[in-house]
């Protein structure tokens, strides 16, 4: 019984982080058709910026995370405006340019911070015993923050003028332009939100997992899996798939072998892409 509880609790925590990563990845893909291979870079920068704001500038942790996420969001907009805008419609260009940017960012981080792993402290210290499973307060906070952030995202997308415009652009770009929506503005806002969410995930995880200049790889791979399993372009699907993946990985790690956790996502990805493509393909690509 305890094992099941542990899998549910730790899987949920993992799922939260994956959900934060994948929603932003899906959002910008659905809205602008951008498969952003620098998405993991936003996650990494969220962690490192928080580190600097907290340790170097002495800003308390909660505002430091928020500020870091806003800065990363702004960088995301910059990336889109400067590098992607001229050739957004070319998948080839977008893929190669964003992966090149990811590598360049890795080198910049390596030069600035070195290669040794670093951490930031927990938002709240201490832990709590949930029915026999010991969970840190920080981990519970990750769940709470994710819930709040995702609900806010949902409210923005369904209740605000530009949120609804964003949904409209993701469904039909020409249709959106014909009702007067400024698609460029929607792209900018989506890129901001996408980078912001990834940065929050990176900052929240870094008390638990050390930050390194290579840390951008993991979230990128998870984002692929979540997005492919959940159905490209579907936010709800992504969120569900994120938790599914979190539980499945935790289950594999606890019950079968920790060595296999990383393989789970790869197998899931390949199986879905090869055998269930029609079931998962989003609108954009038929």
């Amino acid at each position: 019984m305890e094992l099941i509880q542990e899998i549910i609790i730790f899987g949920t925590i993992k799922g939260c982080v994956y959900a934060l990563i994948a929603t932003g990845f899906t959002l910008i893909f659905a809205v602008a058709g951008i498969l952003n291979l620098a998405h993991g870079t936003f996650y990494m920068l969220g962690a490192y910026f928080t580190y600097t704001l907290f340790y170097v500038l002495g800003i308390p942790l909660p505002p430091a995370i928020l500020l870091a996420a806003v800065l990363v969001g702004a960088l995301g907009m910059l990336l889109d405006r400067v590098f992607l805008k001229p050739m957004r419609s070319s998948h080839t260009y977008v893929l190669v340019l964003t992966v090149a940017v990811a590598f360049a960012a890795q080198e910049i981080i390596l030069l600035t911070y070195g290669s040794q792993g670093m951490n930031i402290p927990n938002l709240i210290e201490g832990s709590v015993n949930l029915n026999g499973v010991v969970v840190s307060w920080h981990q519970l906070l990750i769940v709470a923050i994710t819930a709040v952030v995702l609900i806010m995202l949902w409210l923005v997308l369904t209740r605000t003028r530009y949120g609804v415009a964003t949904l409209a652009v993701s469904m039909d770009e020409d249709g959106a332009r014909l009702v007067g929506i400024e698609t460029e503005k929607v792209f900018n806002l989506s890129m901001f939100a996408s980078a912001f969410l990834a940065a929050v995930a990176g900052a929240l995880i870094s008390p638990i997992m050390s930050m390194t200049p290579e840390m951008w790889n993991m979230p990128l791979m998870k984002a692929f899996v979540v997005v492919v399993v959940g159905g490209i372009g579907s936010l709800t699907g992504s969120i569900m798939a994120a938790f599914f993946l979190g539980w499945l990985e935790t289950f594999t790690g606890f019950v079968i072998s920790p060595k296999l956790t990383e393989v789970v996502s790869l197998v899931l990805l390949t199986v879905f892409l090869v055998f269930r493509p029609s079931g998962i393909l989003g609108r954009r690509l038929h």
């Binding site: 609804v164 020409d174 007067g180």
Partner: protein, 235 residues
């Protein structure tokens, strides 16, 4: 001064010249049709007017130069299109689609009036307000497409083959709606392959062939022209 004036419009796709020095003018309150075979460039003409496609030449609306004006700004000026392929928002409800049609509308009262007007024009939409647009029948989608365009109080309504692919009864319902819109004084630029419908609805007609205007005149004149009768009216 015409409401919409186009002079020597040139549009290319890559190196292909799709519109070659097209000129036309539409006065306030007129209903003008553009007919022509498939691939003549009719859709490209409307897309250029709505700033969805780059163009060269001169276009002005109410005397204002349209060069460099964005698609969003054209809508704000009152140039509104019900496009080919409809381009609805399939996973949003009929009501949400209509509300998005009024995306740029500032006054709530105007929005409400337009909403009433659209539902009056197409009562079938009123019965399906909560249904997703993607699940509507073809005819209903076309109604929603025209309705969405009307939501932003157009000064000129661009209609791209509104009857395309519809059953005769539905086609007649759409034609009826166009008549009512025209009767309200809204200027209409109607693109049609169905020349019967174009001649019936429009006062003047331009014939677009392979990217340029080959003939123009009033509906009456053209419908008596023997070559038009044989190639477009099948008579």
């Amino acid at each position: 001064m015409p409401l919409l004036e186009i002079e020597n419009l040139v549009v290319r796709y890559g190196s292909a010249l799709v519109l070659d020095r097209v000129s036309l003018a539409i006065d306030n309150g007129e209903c003008v049709a553009v007919i022509g075979p498939n691939g003549a460039g009719k859709t490209t003409l409307l897309r250029s007017i709505s700033a969805l496609k780059d163009w060269e030449g001169k276009m002005s609306f109410q005397g204002r130069d349209l060069a460099g004006v964005s698609s969003s700004q054209t809508v704000a000026l009152g140039i509104v299109q019900a496009p080919e392929g409809r381009h609805l928002f399939p996973q949003l409800s009929v009501r949400e689609n209509l509300e998005l049609g009024a995306f740029l509308a500032k006054e709530k009262a105007q929005k409400d009036t337009n909403y009433e007007y659209v539902l009056e024009l197409f009562p079938r939409l009123g019965e399906r307000l909560r249904q997703m647009a993607g699940t509507l029948s073809g005819g209903e989608q076309q109604m929603l497409c025209v309705g969405r365009a009307l939501m932003s109080s157009p000064r000129i309504l661009l209609l791209d083959e509104p009857s395309f692919g519809l059953a005769p009864l539905i086609k007649e319902a759409i034609a009826n709606a166009v008549r009512q819109i025209r009767a309200k004084g809204t200027t209409i630029l109607l693109v049609e392959q169905d020349a019967h419908m174009a001649f019936e609805l429009a006062q003047r007609v331009y014939v677009l062939e392979e990217g340029h205007i080959s003939t123009t005149g009033t509906s009456k004149e053209l419908s008596e022209d023997p070559s038009i009768r044989s190639s477009y009216l099948g008579l």
